[in-house]
């Protein structure tokens, strides 16, 4: 077992995704915690704007579920410098996901022990009904994400696994809704079968096991240059990445959103 992880390290969707993107970036970011000048360019200006707008929408929806008057939220969205936020909020308020129900937990974190390791999920909205568990995730992607890719994403697996394990839902079905603010009528919905949940547990456990079993020099640089495109360690690795890779853009955007 590797000793290099900091004591009490908590695995999460974002650090596991970073590991899957590039082992070396995991090492620099979460183990060595090395600050490094990110490559900034006109492209990252839109990255910053997207991050700010995305986190504002999340905050407004969070406040909505906490019971703050929708009119006040609208006024704040309108005063926000990025006009997309107001549009997104209106779409959300008009969507079926804005229905206020009992036992809804917005921006809720839950943590489980998985084979002696801690695994954390931060849900945008968790709805613990008597006979079902629903996870909602709000997204502000520029393109509609692909269903198959979403199904295999670390986020989907971690959220489903934590929701099941933390809320004793062996008898309650678990479903997950990805709602895209720019594609409000195309939510991507997953209803997880018991077998899928077993597979998720296996995949995540194996991934954690791999991380823990690596020696420092096994945290190698990715061979997929797409992953380097928006990574802050480009100059450290003397890599430039392949610009315009939408998936890499989305991955790093989400990692940033979750960590801030």
């Amino acid at each position: 077992m590797s000793e290099i992880l900091p004591r009490g390290f908590v695995f999460s969707q974002s650090n596991l995704q970073a590991f899957q993107n590039c082992r070396f970036s995991f090492m620099l970011r979460y183990i060595r915690k090395l600050p490094w000048p990110s490559p900034l360019s006109a492209r990252s200006a839109s990255f910053e704007l997207d991050q700010a707008a995305g986190s504002m929408l999340h905050s407004l929806i969070h406040q909505y579920f906490l019971g703050i008057d929708a009119e006040l939220l609208r006024s704040c969205a309108e005063a926000f410098p990025d006009a997309r936020v107001s549009r997104w909020l209106e779409r959300f308020l008009a969507s079926p996901y804005s229905e206020i129900l009992p036992n809804q937990y917005p921006e809720h974190s839950q943590q489980i022990a998985l084979g002696g390791n801690l695994l954390l999920a931060k849900f945008d909205l968790l709805h613990l009904d008597d006979d079902a568990i629903q996870i909602c995730d709000w997204k502000t992607s520029r393109i509609l994400l692909n269903r198959v890719r979403l199904q295999n994403r670390i986020q989907t697996m971690v959220y489903a696994l934590v929701a099941v394990s933390a809320n004793d839902s062996k008898t309650r079905p678990v479903s997950m809704y990805y709602w895209e603010a720019d594609f409000p009528d195309n939510p991507i919905i997953f209803e997880f079968s018991p077998q899928q949940l077993i597979d998720f547990r296996k995949t995540i456990t194996n991934l954690i096991h791999t991380i823990k079993s690596l020696s420092p020099d096994e945290f190698i640089r990715t061979t997929n240059l797409n992953h380097c495109s928006y990574c802050e360690y480009q100059t450290y690795c003397s890599r430039v990445g392949i610009p315009k890779d939408e998936q890499a853009y989305q991955d790093w955007l989400e990692i940033g959103l979750l960590e801030n």
Binding site: L34, P35, W36, P37, S38, P39, L40, S41, S44, M56, S59, L60, H62, Q63, L66, G67, I68, D69, L72, L73, S75, C76, E78, A79, F80, P81, Q234, T235, Y236
Partner: protein
């Protein structure tokens, strides 16, 4: 608590907006750090200074701004209107101008308090007009609006069921108010306080208010058994708090406090002796992490010299991670000097020496002598460099003295700077300068992790600075860069503080300021006390425009703060510090003094007097007995 407050204000901004406290309530809040608050305070105070206010004050600008902000903070954390600041300060002032070294006469001192009021009122009004939230306003909004709001309470109370609150004595009273009301709705709560604490009183910590929390508790337990200190140290602790002066037997005293046979004359000699003693302790089996070297203030040379000597002896050392001194860090200086060349619109061209140093760091083989020769061709009458000269324009006798590979790198850097976009945001510029040039092979930042870290922190510092400013529609990239550079040069952004009191290095001999060591709450076997003559052991900071003990909930309204209060406070501080240190000592204290202090003055002061009296009386007793 301050980070909870900030998060809650950001989350519930809409609720606050509904109260229409701000002129543009629905626009996003602009949170200020200490540095950006000072920047905005400068915008308010500079015109006041031009109009003759604060004329009698001989403080540096940033000390002036920080004391004004401190006043506002005190009003918020203690819980009184900021509009009463001048009245409170004036009432407590005993009218003795000589007590306040910055004033020439009584009337000027009174005027200065009025100026304080004028400035803080104007600053607050400006904040409300522009959605700017300094720390004081954050506290006021949290306590005055959010904490009273039902929606907020419903949310907050469901977030937590149990509370463990430690070091209550180091918090200001508003935190105790919140905790007192919070615990009513919790399933359980545990409040822990140290009676000998309140070390941060100068920052508003209020141990009396903290101890009042125990009156609302179902169970109050008091632990007074000392599990750390051996009997001789415990005897000294008792001696410290005893009145009248209590003598100790020499045998007890010498077992607790060690003094050298002969006092060295100068400080470097003292450091040499300290390192020798530490080496002997380690050789005789004391683990290095059981030793701490403590001083009220730690200068960089002191830390460097001790670390160097101990490192040479193979003894590991732990120090507090230094904050990144932006004005002194060579990587930061290099980047910013090059930036000032690339942004002529800033109109702050670097001087010859600054540019020379930057070039020598950017291109390691371009030594200061050659860069001097090169730049001399391009300096203006006032010794400024406005642009880097072309190599081909240099007289031949100079160009031949520059090796070809160096000339090539110089040209790469020069043409890169010349072609940069003057409207590019400063953080983008720095990032590109780093990746396109400075980190490339042959340049000074190549393969240097430290250079990368420093550059990343510089970018972070700029990004934090621009965050509140950039909401202003007139603040374009060039303005933001210029303001950052100007503020830095004026000392408003002197350091980039890293995570609180972070200790770096392997477990080893700890070199730490006294206060930080006390706050760490970690006992060690051997403590070496340095700079015994320093007033830092007991005196409060000189803050003529504010007063942590008057702007305090425990201060009796209408009372005067007298010289007697000051002396009493010094004795109290010394007693609390010494007891705190001794309670964290499981072996012995080494009292280390030289005839001349680190600063070259003769060592004297309350701590030395206390130690001398203790030993003299013990010796006398011993001889008589």
């Amino acid at each position: 608590m301050s980070s909870i407050i900030r998060r809650m204000i950001a989350l519930f901004w809409t609720l606050i907006a509904g109260h229409k406290v701000f002129q543009h309530p629905f626009e996003p809040p602009r949170f200020l750090t200490l540095e950006t608050a000072q920047y905005y305070m400068a915008q308010i105070v500079d015109p006041l200074i031009d109009r003759g206010h604060f004329a009698a004050i001989t403080l540096t600008r940033n000390r002036l701004f920080s004391q004004l902000l401190d006043n506002l903070n005190k009003s918020a954390i203690v819980g009184f209107p900021h509009t009463t600041l001048a009245r409170r300060l004036k009432t407590a002032w005993n009218g003795d101008a000589s007590q306040l070294v910055v004033y020439d006469d009584v009337q000027l001192a009174v005027n200065a308090y009025d100026d304080v009021q004028l400035a803080v009122n104007a600053f607050r009004a400006y904040c409300l007009e522009n959605n700017l939230l300094d720390f004081s306003l954050q506290v006021e909004l949290f306590c005055g609006i959010l904490w009273q709001n039902n929606t907020f309470q419903k949310y907050f109370q469901t977030q937590y069921q149990h509370l463990i609150y430690d070091n209550a004595e180091e918090d200001p009273p508003y935190v105790h108010d919140i905790v007192k009301s919070w615990t009513k709705n919790l399933e359980s709560s545990l409040v822990i306080m140290d009676e000998g604490g309140g070390l941060r009183s100068f920052l508003g910590a209020d141990p009396i208010s903290a101890s009042a929390l125990s009156t609302t508790a179902d169970i109050a337990l008091r632990f007074d058994q000392n599990f750390v200190s051996p009997p001789p140290i415990q005897a000294v602790i008792e001696q410290i708090s005893s009145t009248p002066f209590q003598k100790l037997p020499l045998s007890t005293l010498s077992a607790a406090l060690l003094i050298p046979q002969a006092q060295p004359r100068f400080f470097p000699e003292l450091l040499y002796n300290v390192c020798q003693e530490i080496s002997e302790l380690v050789q005789n089996g004391t683990p290095a992490h059981e030793i701490a070297v403590l001083s009220p203030f730690l200068s960089d040379p002191l830390v460097f010299e001790l670390s160097r000597r101990l490192g040479k002896a193979g003894i590991p050392v732990q120090t507090l991670r230094p904050s990144l001194a932006l004005n002194a860090n060579p990587h930061v200086q290099t980047v910013l000097t090059l930036a000032s060349l690339a942004y002529p619109a800033w109109q702050m061209p670097p001087d010859l020496f600054q540019t020379q140093a930057a070039l020598s760091i950017a291109i390691p083989r371009l030594d200061p002598l050659r860069s001097h020769l090169l730049l001399k061709q391009a300096i203006s009458d006032d010794n400024r460099v406005t642009t880097l000269p072309l190599i081909e324009d240099l007289p031949e006798e100079i160009s031949v003295r520059i090796p070809q590979d160096v000339a090539h790198r110089y040209e790469t850097l020069r043409s890169w700077l010349a072609s940069s976009d003057p409207d590019e945001p400063l953080d983008y510029f720095i990032s590109r300068l780093f990746s396109d040039v400075l980190s490339q092979p042959g340049f000074g930042f190549a393969e240097s992790q430290l250079a990368g870290e420093d550059t990343a922190r510089l970018i972070e510092s700029y990004q934090k600075f621009k965050l509140p400013l950039s909401a202003d529609p007139q603040a374009d990239a060039s303005f933001l860069g210029k303001e950052y550079y100007r503020s830095l040069r004026q000392g408003l952004l002197s350091a980039l503080y890293l995570p609180d009191d972070e200790i770096v290095g392997e477990p080893g001999v700890l070199i730490s300021p006294v206060m930080t060591f006390l706050m760490q709450n970690r006992p060690v076997r051997h403590q070496f006390w340095l700079n015994l003559g320093s007033k830092g052991w007991y005196e409060r900071l000189e803050q003529p425009l504010t007063h942590p003990y008057v702007l305090n909930r425990q201060w009796q309204s209408g009372k005067k703060w007298t010289t007697d209060n000051e002396v009493e406070l010094a004795h109290f501080n010394l007693q609390r510090t010494l007891s705190g240190l001794l309670l964290r000592c499981s072996g012995q204290v080494h009292l280390c003094s030289s005839t001349y202090s680190e600063g070259g003055t003769e060592e004297r002061g309350l701590l030395l007097t206390w130690a001398q009296n203790l030993f003299r009386s013990a010796l006398r007793e011993d001889q008589n007995g």
